[in-house]
């Protein structure tokens, strides 16, 4: 299992998600920066947590550099980064 994985880009309507494996017991930490963060942080955090829970990820640091991703895109990018980090585990 590698320690960190990325998915996405910094193009318009996309986001770059970096997922890092935390130490056991550290929990899930989400950091969101970028263009929509000022007004959509709560909605984005909600979406990220949904994906984290659905994939059963634990002890993960997620950093999201956003450039206007809607939920649909954000969800796909978080899923891709987590799957990569978790070694393709479903």
């Amino acid at each position: 299992m590698s320690n960190t994985a990325q998915a996405g880009t910094l193009e318009s309507m996309d986001c770059l998600v970096t997922a890092t494996q935390g130490v056991p017991g550290s929990g899930v930490k989400v950091e969101i920066t970028g263009s929509s963060a000022a007004r959509f942080k709560s909605a984005m955090e909600k979406k990220v947590n949904e994906v984290v829970v659905s994939l059963g990820a634990k002890d993960i640091d997620l950093s999201i550099q956003d450039n206007g991703a809607i939920d649909l895109v954000l969800g796909a990018r978080v899923e891709a980064a987590l799957k990569k980090l978790m070694g393709g585990a479903k």
């Binding site: 193009e11 996309d14 649909l72 895109v73 969800g75 796909a76 899923e79 891709a80």
Partner: protein
């Protein structure tokens, strides 16, 4: 109707969100050439999310999968086929009927596994080699799933050991072949893309040419190409007017139990009526008084 089918790069959210707004008849979410090798998995996940939750308006939705000679194509199918919005897959570099059969079997397998009616997913075959073009008819007949055959552009020209010219001389025979094979097999003939996205006049000329050859439509790589091709493919006012007359006369004749009739001094028989109906279909006219 498949006048235009627009390619959308599979790893580009901006185009995946907005692609359907540009009014093409179909969309091709591209997992093949538009996606770098390192991004294949990301794009596959993104495209599958869009197929599940995205909007596509009235467009026919297809995905161009990676070739059957790659390690990706089965994963591509597993990610996209379960989604209801998917209507077909466009498969690159088809060489012969055998390849279509392999794809057909895998599609049936994935459909069955996901409780989807077997045969729902159509196949659009890209014939990008001399061998593929030569086998066009067999390819088109290889499965009832085949909806259209499409000649290659750059790849085909390379395989022919020539280069692409503005006039398209080198592709002319392949295009004619495509129309013959498609018509003989009862599938659509769709043309390759026009790569020079700012050459509006060149596109208009090429669209007029392939329409005259008998193509049903053309693949598109930029939204700005769509209205130009529609403009060429849409019937003119004169064509619509004449078609309306023909269909009306045929209806009346049928009601009176007559066979052939004449409109404006011209014999109207079954093929003429069929063509007139096709013109009206393309013009979006469904009911004739």
């Amino acid at each position: 109707m498949r006048r235009t089918m627009l390619y959308l790069p599979g790893n580009n959210p901006n185009m995946l969100v907005r692609g359907y707004l540009f009014g093409s008849d179909g969309l091709i979410l591209d997992l093949e050439d538009a996606v770098a090798v390192a991004e294949k998995e990301n794009a596959r996940i993104l495209v599958s999310h869009f197929l599940r939750q995205g909007e596509f308006g009235d467009c026919e939705v297809t995905v161009r999968i990676n070739g059957l000679d790659t390690e990706y194509w089965k994963d591509d199918l597993a990610a996209i086929v379960p989604h209801k919005s998917l209507q077909g897959v466009r498969v690159p570099k088809v060489e012969d009927a055998g390849m279509v059969k392999i794809l057909d079997e895998e599609l049936s397998h994935v459909e069955e596994k996901n409780g989807i009616p077997v045969g729902r997913t159509k196949i659009f075959c890209l014939l990008e080699t001399a061998q593929g073009v030569w086998n066009a008819y067999d390819v088109a007949k290889a499965s009832p799933r085949v909806a259209a055959i499409i000649p290659g552009g750059e790849d085909l020209v390379a395989d022919l050991k020539t280069s692409r010219s503005p006039e398209g001389t080198e592709l002319e025979w392949a295009r004619r072949m495509m129309v013959f094979a498609a018509r003989a097999a009862g599938v659509d003939a769709l043309d390759t893309v026009f790569p020079r996205v700012t050459d509006d006049e060149g596109l208009r000329r090429e669209a007029a040419f392939i329409k005259q050859l008998g193509f049903d439509g053309k693949s598109v790589i930029h939204p700005n190409q769509i209205p130009i091709i529609h403009d060429v493919f849409n019937p003119t006012e004169k064509e619509i007017e004449s078609a309306l007359k023909i269909v009306a006369a045929a209806k009346e004749a049928a009601a009176r139990g007559l066979g052939a009739v004449s409109v404006d001094g011209r014999m109207v028989d079954v093929p003429v009526v069929k063509r007139a109906e096709y013109v009206l279909l393309k013009a979006g006219i469904t009911e004739v008084e």
